[in-house]
Symmetry: C2
Subunit: 372 residues, 2 copies
């Protein structure tokens, strides 16, 4: 039996449960998905959290977001004109649904209609050159005229220019903090202008002041929204290259704007082109490469939810101890854990979930896990 | 029976005949080759020229370079330290031998030892930016350090920077005029510096002041010398792009240095990269791409000369008239001429040679010919 990921609409109670679950300690988008699959819904997952954390060996009681807290956030969001859109609902950006760690709830301010356009991300250096800024703004305007929405990160330099160039045609700013913490502060007016015809989105709670580590995490949403990303100016080891790496992992097209080899702000983009990114000197370079992809349409996969699991995959204490003993700070794979512990995959996954909720597990790429 | 193109050494008399033949009216490098093949040597070709021109229907007597004129050029060249090196002689640049229209005689000033190095050409805009000039000089120096000689056109901007960067390691300037007409004049000192450890080459006679149309023709020698060419800055429709096109036709590697899309001097180079040229931001990009080619060594083809042809391929008047009647200002192919005139290829080629010497034939790419 297949169920489409689309066409979902949460009841008020369900939305509250989703919000409580994703705002609870040690629950990220991937864990959220595992929990909902494992317990057959957010409500039952919430009820199971304290027990999971205890069994996973949490040092103290893991904080579960209270109904009150979640209601406060929903009320505050509503008063700011921010909607909390759930993964699968019609206002959720369609391509973003398809990434592994898509946020279960997205705080959206502005007009979600912009998500209906094909989206290109334009990112680049904060300390961009005058030429880089001029180019980003022109590119955004030209892509807007061709029917694309432009996504970026509201940063100084290239990001701001990309938004400015696409204010009229549709622009999306992805925030690293909460909707009430625009960063940098001086872009508050730009944010208002973005919200007028486009949208600002965030996966973080209201009141969240963005920390340095929130920006790379945010960058996966910029690329995840888009069918392709254009890097305009980027030094070596810059944030824009992180976004480009996310884009590759997510199967998005990567474009880069060339620059002089003597300009450090072009090192990153020239490097991307050497590695196979498509060179962009004008909007038509982007459009020509994306048209075939858009022509194919966007086939959202119909996902088969795992069968709501039951108590009979509840691990016994011996099984749990055996699996934990196999773990270490060195990443190990699920297959190895199943084989070495001689347990079923379901049992191993449950133990890992417990450890995760207890804050003792770290997930790496390729399905590897390690003890914190 | 195969004869290698290498290891030739002309006697003084032969060199004089070669010089007379290539300096005669309507004899370019390709016609020179046809004539020498047809008549089995320059001496007999010279003797045949007036007759050929008459039969080809020349409007007046075609000027044949006299022995006296040729002797004067040889003497003047010697007094300037300029050697006239013949195609196939050991001092002739090896890769240049292999292009279709290699000059039969090359005027060389300086040290032909530089031709023994693998050669990379660096070309670009005369009105280059400061960054472009700095990059060209650095690239030339780095390639020199890696054992390459650098060829260029002694022009202002990128060319001069490329020569300056490689003066110590080996540099080759290809002139559009005669060896006694350095262009631009203010580069006379640079030319002397080039000659000190490197070489200046020209296919034009002493005394030849370069005209605009001589530069594209010269550019084929810059690319022809080299295993690859690097275009540093080039606007659209610039001379450097002509050199790049020659390079492609000659099977040379084409490299280009990226630049900002807003810089008109990068339009040509960015365009080349989009079309498949290898992007260069440092010398190692060039070296990495050329090493495999150089590793293969340079297999000079052993050419089979056409058998010295004889009077029995002399066309009769009817045959000649029939072939001429098939020609028009619209280019036609040799195969069609053979088929439609019901003559042998040898007969058709002879008639075409006559027309060429008479100044009535133009050769196009792909073996096509038309009446002037």
């Amino acid at each position: 039996m297949h169920r489409s990921i689309e066409g979902v609409h949460l009841s008020d109670d369900q939305r509250l449960d989703w919000l409580r679950l994703i705002r609870s300690d040690n629950v990220g988008p991937c864990t959220f998905r595992s929990l909902v699959n494992h317990y057959g819904g957010a409500h039952r997952a919430l009820a199971a959290l304290p027990d999971l954390a205890r069994r996973g060996g949490a040092s103290g009681p893991a904080r579960v977001c209270s109904r009150q807290e979640a209601e406060r956030e929903l009320t505050a969001a509503r008063s700011l004109g921010v909607a909390l859109v759930a993964l699968g609902e019609s206002d959720y950006p369609r391509r973003l649904m398809m990434i592994d760690d898509a946020p279960p709830l997205l705080a959206v301010r502005g007009s979600p209609a912009v998500f209906g356009l094909p989206i290109v991300a334009i990112v680049g250096a904060r300390n961009a050159s005058a030429a880089g800024i001029r180019f980003a703004e022109r590119l955004a305007r030209d892509l807007g005229a061709a029917g694309f929405a432009v996504a970026s990160g509201l940063a100084r330099g290239v990001d701001a220019a990309a938004h400015r160039g696409s204010l009229a045609s549709g622009t999306i700013a992805v925030l690293a903090g909460g909707q009430d913490h625009i960063y940098p502060r001086e872009h508050a007016d730009l944010a208002d202008a973005v919200a007028a015809d486009g949208a600002l989105i965030s996966e973080m709670p209201l009141g969240w002041e963005p920390r340095a580590r929130d920006f790379p995490r945010r960058n996966r949403l910029i690329s995840g929204l888009a069918v392709g990303i254009v890097v305009v100016e980027a030094a070596r080891r810059s944030g824009s290259l992180i976004t480009a790496r996310f884009a590759l992992e997510q199967g998005r097209e990567v474009f880069a704007v060339p620059g002089s080899p003597l300009d450090p702000r072009a090192e990153g983009t020239n490097g991307l082109i050497k590695q196979g990114a498509i060179m962009v000197t004008e909007a038509s370079d982007v459009i020509a490469a994306l048209e075939p992809i858009l022509g194919r349409g966007l086939d959202l996969p119909a996902r088969e939810p795992e069968p709501p699991s039951s108590a009979d995959v509840e691990p016994g204490d011996d099984e749990r101890a055996r699996i934990v003993s196999l773990l270490s700070p060195t990443p190990a794979g699920l297959d190895d854990l199943v084989r070495l512990s001689q347990n079923t995959p379901a049992i191993v996954r449950t133990v890992l979930l417990e450890l995760e909720i207890a804050g003792r597990l770290e997930r790496h790429g390729g399905g590897l896990v390690s003890l914190v």
